[in-house]
């Protein structure tokens, strides 16, 4: 199984900026951050980074999206006041770099890259995907909009009528967002190429939060209409037709992770980890063992001092940065993978114990730090 990360997933996973001021938490977090970032992090933790693909097109597009959004934001917030303008530039500088740090991390540490022949991609896009989608999206709906006479005013009555009308429809039609733009067509062509590269031996998923790729939620009323609502149903007609014709299956990151877990179990991946877990058992202070147990599955990290007192509890994604700026850390426990970069920082900060869910196989074992996995304690 291979998962191609689509631009919307990569961008959503990259936007999270948090800071504390007088105990209050300020956060700039994409609505889909948790699921997109969680997906990439978990794949990495489970040792599946080699199955996650971020192509250069997607990486470039994600950078482009961030860049354009920041520029538009600067324009919209422009002011003649020089100091306020300076503040705005500082703010965009911080937010942009924070997002790019995450994006670089996903590209470098959570995924792999496959070569893409751009000529072949253009050919597939122009000659295969575009005409196919052009044809099948002709008779699709973006939402169901029942026409209720305007003299019926009360909202409850309008809602009731809407419900009745939708229920009585013989068929709701095919719900799809409409013809995708050039950027999405490029990614669809790349997914097709990857599917063909593996000659159908691998299932190819496209992780996306964009309705051009995944099953579309059935919605009543225009999205501009304040009374619009979702029925809870998903229409996967177009997604399925694309999968049948081109081999790639677009879906939500959470759903794909569930599928990966299912496949891993079938292939004995989980059993393999359990066997490794039994290799050695090491006695550690009670606080370390308890914290490790508490952190499992949270993608969080806890920093302890020499007295085994908690200094900080933070998301794993912020660990490297936080560790660099924190003094007197004795032990770091986190629900993630011990990487060489983290070991280097820990060595510099004179940390004695690094305890995590998994340990990367390429680590050079340092003399002054104990590297332990949850399974070993």
């Amino acid at each position: 199984m291979k998962v191609l990360i689509e631009t919307s997933t990569l961008v959503s996973a990259s936007i999270c900026w948090e800071y504390k001021e007088k105990g209050k938490l300020f956060s700039l977090k994409h609505r889909f951050f948790e699921k997109c970032s969680g997906f990439l992090e978990r794949c990495k933790q489970k040792g599946l980074a080699e199955n996650v693909i971020i192509t250069i097109t997607v990486e470039y597009e994600a950078r482009n999206v961030l860049n354009k959004a920041v520029k538009k934001t600067i324009r919209e917030n422009a002011t003649p006041d020089l100091l306020a303008r300076f503040g705005l530039m500082v703010l965009q500088h911080i937010v942009t770099n924070e997002a790019l740090d995450r994006l670089d991390y996903y590209v470098e540490e959570c995924s792999t890259r496959l070569p893409i022949n751009t000529r072949e991609r253009e050919r597939i896009k122009k000659n295969e995907i575009e005409p196919f989608l052009d044809q099948i999206t002709k008779n699709t709906l973006r939402y169901i909009q029942p026409s209720i006479p305007s003299f019926i005013k009360p909202k409850s009555l309008r809602d009731e009528l809407t419900r009745k009308m939708v229920e009585s429809l013989p068929s709701k039609g095919v719900i799809y967002k409409g013809m995708p733009g050039d950027r999405d067509l490029d990614i669809m062509a790349e997914a097709t190429m990857i599917y063909r590269m593996f000659q159908g031996r691998e299932k190819i998923y496209v992780s996306s939060v964009d309705n051009h790729f995944k099953p579309n939620p059935v919605q009543i009323g225009s999205y501009l209409d304040p009374s619009m609502r979702f029925t809870g149903e998903l229409d996967s007609t177009i997604r399925d037709k694309l999968a049948e014709k081109f081999g790639f299956i677009g879906d939500d990151p959470l759903r794909i992770f569930e599928l990966i877990k299912g496949e891993s179990k079938k292939k004995g991946f989980v059993e393999e980890i359990k066997v490794k877990k039994q290799r050695r058992q090491i006695q550690v202070p009670k606080q370390i063992a308890e914290t490790a147990k508490e952190l499992e599955g949270t993608t969080e990290a806890v920093l302890l001092n020499e007295k085994m007192e908690q200094i900080e509890r933070i998301p794993v994604s912020e660990l490297a940065q936080k560790l660099q700026g924190t003094k007197d850390v004795d032990t770091v426990i986190f629900d993630g993978v011990i990487t060489q970069r983290l070991v280097d920082i820990a060595a510099e900060k004179k940390v004695k114990n690094l305890v995590a869910a998994l340990l990367s196989e390429t680590i050079k074992q340092p003399l002054q730090i104990n590297l332990l996995t949850f399974a070993e304690i």
Binding site: I15, F26, S27, V70, K72, T73, G87, M89, V90, R341
Partner: protein, 187 residues
Amino acid sequence: MRSYKQELTNIEKMLHDFLECGMIDTKRLSIMDNIIEWSEKDQIRVVNSSYLPLNAQTSFFGAIRNIHISMKSMKEKLRLASIEHENPTTAQLALELMPSFFNLVPYLDPFFNENVYHKKVENVSKFSRILFRKAKYFGFSEDVMSQLSAAGVTKSQIKSFIESFSKNVALELDIEEEASSSLESTD
């Protein structure tokens, strides 16, 4: 004429000297003040350069700000290292960071001395980003809170930025329907 290249060369020489004699002479650290001061003023100069396209403005601002923050932090770390007798390591790290400063010189000196800016501003962004990452990795960076308060960024500015950025990300991704309120802010 001010020359970032000349100042950086002087700093690099000073760091080499520190490494050779195995200790940091804090009296010589004032050599870094010129760059710290210039880069502080040059940030405002970029913000005030309304003739520049926004793309060039953000690239040059990012570059000069990264130089300012990294250099300021480097000076402070070297000073502390001298007190804590961790001399060679910090000086070595500082020396390793120097090529990343030099990468930016061919773009910055012509811009700030002759108002000539290189059309390939993407190179400025690229090298600026390399400097940022390396400096952050070596610990020559400043925390967000200090940066915001030093720049006088108000809460209303942050709020307005967040709202606007939220809308623009959704528009750029073309997922405005899926993410009608795509960013969350908590306070």
